[in-house]
């Protein structure tokens, strides 16, 4: 990609600034002029959507923290205080709660887009790994955020998840007590979760900067997966992709707004409007929808420590993906076999999500074991094997050629 800066200071003030702290130059080169492949489709707009989601969560979260009280006696009431007495408190809280779901919806689209177009392959391995780190931090942040309203599902979700650490041999008990700050999930647990829930988003923000930095070194991958050859293959990020990402973001916001204003509670659990009660266990303890596939994996394994290991391995294995995939071809468009397995994998993850919401017994348990097995087989067998046995389709010569080709066939079709 072009390493030479195209920034031209337009005034004496900006020249003065540029000689001392070239921040405008950095912004110009990485936002305005950044050369971006001209063939990115709408699946590539979710990076922008995710940045928006993160900033929205941080801003609404800061405002919520001004009114929220992290105390086991007062937390539930303080959330109701926000809903009832704080000006537009209901709006801020619903944006934050629905926003968490929307954030995960967008991140899943973003991850599966990366899987489909092979965005994790050389030279973008670190870009991918940073993405997995962000995702891990997101799950931790979301889990702790869900505990803060101190409803029944908050309390029992926290109890189930923190208890997992007691499965660690020898030190398990000590680690769990250390996490709780006591001998059960209680006020001190809530306090530290609040503190960490406030801290982690800023860590995510930091890793996002590294993620984008890395993206700007390697440049974007694209739907046909072949590297940019010359400047004809790219367009400046602004205005081409600012306007495209902007349009996609607003479409996403329509969905977002639908849930905020017309169905704000459907993505959560009704039990969380019951204040936490350590003496009464809910009939089913389920995590939020976005963690259900991992919950299914956890419960599919007949041993506690095994379940915990497999659950963490399910995310951990993503770190190894750049080296598990042996194919040199990036985009699934030119990989007839991989393309099929991609959809099978996606369906498998969704079925795991469904199974995570059901009781692990009978057919559901058998199904979650099969799906868990496939999840790991997909990474450990399918990815390495496909690169060896698959015959890829011929690749286009360049991005520009493939774009012009597409337009030509489209025009011929229109004439017909």
């Amino acid at each position: 990609m072009s390493k030479l800066s195209t920034y031209q200071p337009k005034s004496s003030l900006s020249r003065w600034f540029d000689e001392r702290l070239p921040l405008p130059r950095l912004m110009h080169d990485s936002v305005n002029a950044f050369p971006t492949p001209r063939n990115l489709n709408y699946w590539y707009t979710f990076g922008g959507v995710l940045t928006f989601c993160l900033i929205t969560q941080i801003i609404t979260g800061i405002v919520l923290a001004m009114h929220y009280t992290p105390n086991a006696e007062l937390a539930f009431g303080s959330v109701e205080h926000i809903m009832r007495n704080v000006n537009y408190g209901w709006l801020i809280r619903y944006v934050h709660a629905v926003g968490a779901s929307m954030f995960f919806l967008a991140v899943y689209v973003h991850i599966f887009r990366g899987l489909y177009y092979g965005s994790y392959k050389a030279p973008r391995e670190l870009l991918w790994i940073l993405g997995v780190v962000i995702y891990l931090l997101m799950t931790a942040t979301a889990f702790m955020g869900y505990v803060l309203p101190w409803g029944q599902m908050s309390f029992w979700g926290a109890t189930v998840i923190t208890n997992l650490f007691s499965a660690i041999p020898i030190v398990g008990g000590t680690v769990t007590e250390w996490l709780w700050g006591g001998f059960a999930v209680d006020n001190s647990t809530l306090n530290r979760f609040f503190s960490l829930h406030y801290l982690l988003p800023f860590m995510i923000f930091g890793v996002v900067i590294l993620h984008i930095w890395s993206l700007h070194v390697t440049g974007n991958n694209n739907p046909i997966g072949i590297s940019v050859k010359d400047e004809h293959d790219t367009v400046p990020f602004s205005p081409y992709y600012t306007v495209k990402d902007g349009f996609a973001l607003v479409c996403f916001l329509i969905l977002f707004a639908w849930f905020i204003f017309y169905n704000p509670n459907i993505l959560g659990h009704s039990d969380n409007y019951i204040e936490a009660n350590p003496l009464s266990t809910p009939a089913h303890i389920v995590p939020e929808w976005y963690l259900l596939p991992f919950y299914a994996i956890l419960r599919a394994i007949p041993s506690k420590i095994g379940g915990v290991l497999f659950m963490f391995a399910a995310i951990g294995i993503l770190f190894l993906l750049p080296w598990l995939d042996t194919s040199k071809i990036r985009s699934a468009t030119f990989r007839p076999l991989y393309k099929q397995f991609f959809w099978i994998f996606l369906a498998n993850c969704l079925v795991l999500g469904y199974l995570g919401s059901q009781n692990p017994e009978g057919g559901y348990l058998i199904a979650s074991r099969i799906c868990t097995a496939y999840y790991f087989i997909h990474f450990l067998v399918v990815f390495p094997l496909l690169g060896i046995i698959e015959t890829p389709k011929p690749l286009p010569e360049s991005i520009t050629k493939s774009v012009l080709e597409k337009i030509k066939t489209k025009k011929i079709d229109e004439k017909k």
């Binding site: 001209r38 009431g77 109701e80 809903m83 009832r84 209901w90 709006l91 619903y94 779901s101 919806l105 367009v235 205005p239 081409y240 306007v243 495209k244 902007g246 349009f247 607003v250 479409c251 916001l253 329509i254 707004a257 639908w258 204003f261 017309y262 169905n263 704000p264 509670n265 459907i266 993505l267 959560g268 659990h269 009704s270 039990d271 409007y273 019951i274 809910p282 009939a283 089913h284 389920v286 939020e288 929808w289 976005y290 259900l292 007839p336 076999l337 393309k339 099929q340 959809w343 099978i344 996606l346 369906a347 969704l350 079925v351 999500g353 469904y354 995570g356 919401s357 012009l404 337009i407």
Partner: protein
């Protein structure tokens, strides 16, 4: 060997699974009503459902009357203030009426300048006075069962919707699971089946999980006298009080739905403009 797999079919299947599963997973709102013998809760017509939902003032006022005269003898409502009764988007009592309602109750305040606690009439700025001093007394007075606080009950309960309704619910904005359940429960007291094994002090209710509920049937015809002449049948009273409980659980519902309509219209217009701008800008590229 793998080439024999029909690609388009797999893709079709996976795509439909995708839709189905995301939605299953996202509507995890189904845990409360479980158990095989629980009857299915029916959807009711509510003025506050849908995009243009609003509260019927008269209905909320009647519902408040039922709450005050019947429910509040056992159930607290600790997140609602008397002032809320006269706030916009609620039952629409005047400020004087809310003041008068508050004054019917007395609260302990203090300490005064001598360090003594004292009783005074409740003010609009006070929370609804609870029937029992604490949970222990509440349990003792109710055969060991704790009557739940009702402020949030219409959001803290749900109904099993089943396939495919949980998908439909996401896009119709159906969020009345809780209030439908409350209404059904109040109408769910029936003679139990002859083979049913009812525990001492429990009552049979066909909508309650497990069918055994500690609360006896609270409503009976003409237990309240409505000022506006509405007939005080069990159906009418339970409808009114359920609507009132929806308002106490979601007092900003009207403001929310009104704002949502404006926001979404604005977003559609903005999306249209951005789409046109995008087309125009991208037309600059050579074709």
């Amino acid at each position: 060997m793998c080439k024999s797999i029909n690609f388009s079919k797999i893709r079709q299947l996976s795509l439909s699974l995708l839709g189905v599963c995301i939605l299953i997973a996202s509507s995890s709102n189904f845990s409360f009503a479980s158990g095989e013998d629980v009857s299915k809760v029916k959807e009711q017509d509510w003025t506050f459902s849908g995009v243009f939902g609003y509260y019927d003032r008269a209905e909320l006022q009647r519902g408040f009357q039922v709450y005050k005269e019947v429910c509040s003898s056992c159930h607290s409502m600790k997140y609602v203030y008397y002032r809320n009764l006269s706030e916009p988007g609620g039952p629409g009592f005047s400020t004087d009426e809310a003041k008068a309602i508050a004054a019917e109750f007395s609260v302990t305040d203090g300490p005064d300048s001598n360090g003594d606690m004292f009783e005074r009439n409740a003010l609009p700025s006070d929370k609804f006075v609870s029937p029992f001093e604490n949970n222990v007394i509440a349990r003792m007075s109710n055969g060991g069962a704790l009557p739940p606080d009702l402020s949030l009950i219409a959001k803290a309960r749900s109904t099993e919707r089943g396939f495919p309704m949980w998908i439909v619910d996401l896009f119709t904005g159906y969020q009345e699971q809780g209030v439908d359940y409350v209404y059904a429960l109040l109408n769910g007291y029936e003679d139990m089946p002859s083979d049913f094994n009812l525990q001492d002090g429990m009552n049979y209710n066909k909508y309650y999980p497990g069918n055994q509920i500690a609360m006896y049937s609270p409503l009976s015809a003409d237990i309240v006298e409505y000022a506006d002449g509405t007939e005080a049948t069990v159906e009418n009273m339970s409808k009114d009080v359920s609507a009132f409980l929806m308002w106490t659980a979601e007092p900003k519902l009207e403001a929310r739905k009104k704002m949502g309509f404006k926001v979404i219209i604005f977003l559609f217009i903005l999306a249209g403009l951005l789409y046109l701008s995008k087309k125009k800008i991208w037309a600059r590229l050579d074709h």
